[in-house]
């Protein structure tokens, strides 16, 4: 079972690298923001999976909970910031 979790987390890591392309080459600031927020939600699941693989699940569930909160707050704050600045 742990092996299955490990393969799924490696697969999600591959998806994160694919999204990294959009973060690096995204035409505008907002495409980069989309890439960052997508990577944020993916690392959330990877964290919980790694928690199961390592066996210390309580710690990792708290970490992923905080990570979900932060990811949401950061996306809202940066969106609000770029709304006024009007960056293309």
């Amino acid at each position: 079972m742990e092996r299955f979790f490990l393969t799924v987390s490696i697969l999600l890591g591959l998806f994160v690298f694919l999204c990294l392309y959009r973060v690096v080459f995204g035409p505008g600031i907002f495409n980069r923001l989309v890439g960052a927020s997508v990577i944020g939600t993916k690392t959330l699941t990877i964290l919980v999976l790694i928690g199961f693989v390592y066996g210390r699940i309580d710690m990792f569930v708290d970490i992923s909970l905080v990570y979900a909160l932060l990811n949401f707050i950061v996306t809202i704050a940066v969106a609000k910031y770029f709304q006024r600045k009007g960056a293309m």
Partner: protein
């Protein structure tokens, strides 16, 4: 019980895959946001549900379910905020014939 977790996790990974392909392949910002906003939320929901099943009915399982519900509530909100910000800062939407929408009034009062 583990079969349910494996199936849900596979479904979640599938939706992550579709979200990633959508993020890379779609022509402009709005369609990318359209793809990733929905499929990532669903992918996270399914995989966290599967993990909650695997964790069983314990304190950890309930916390994982709480994360899933939290993501289910906040991810669309974040998507909406990003879209509103992009629309206000006049990111041009993609049009098939390439003619910008600017000719017509983009935001009909």
């Amino acid at each position: 019980m583990e079969i349910v977790a494996i199936l849900l996790l596979c479904a979640g990974t599938f939706f992550y895959l579709t979200g990633t392909v959508g993020l890379l392949r779609f022509p402009d910002f709005y369609s990318r946001m359209h793809a990733t906003g929905k499929s990532d939320t669903l992918g996270t929901l399914l995989s966290l549900l599967g993990l909650a099943f695997y964790a069983g009915f314990s304190f950890t399982g309930v916390k994982i379910l709480f994360i899933a519900v939290f993501i289910f509530l906040t991810s669309p909100t974040a998507t909406h905020a990003l879209l509103r910000a992009a629309f206000d800062s006049k990111v041009p939407p993609w049009t098939k014939d390439g003619r910008s929408l600017r000719d017509k009034e983009v935001r009909r009062k």
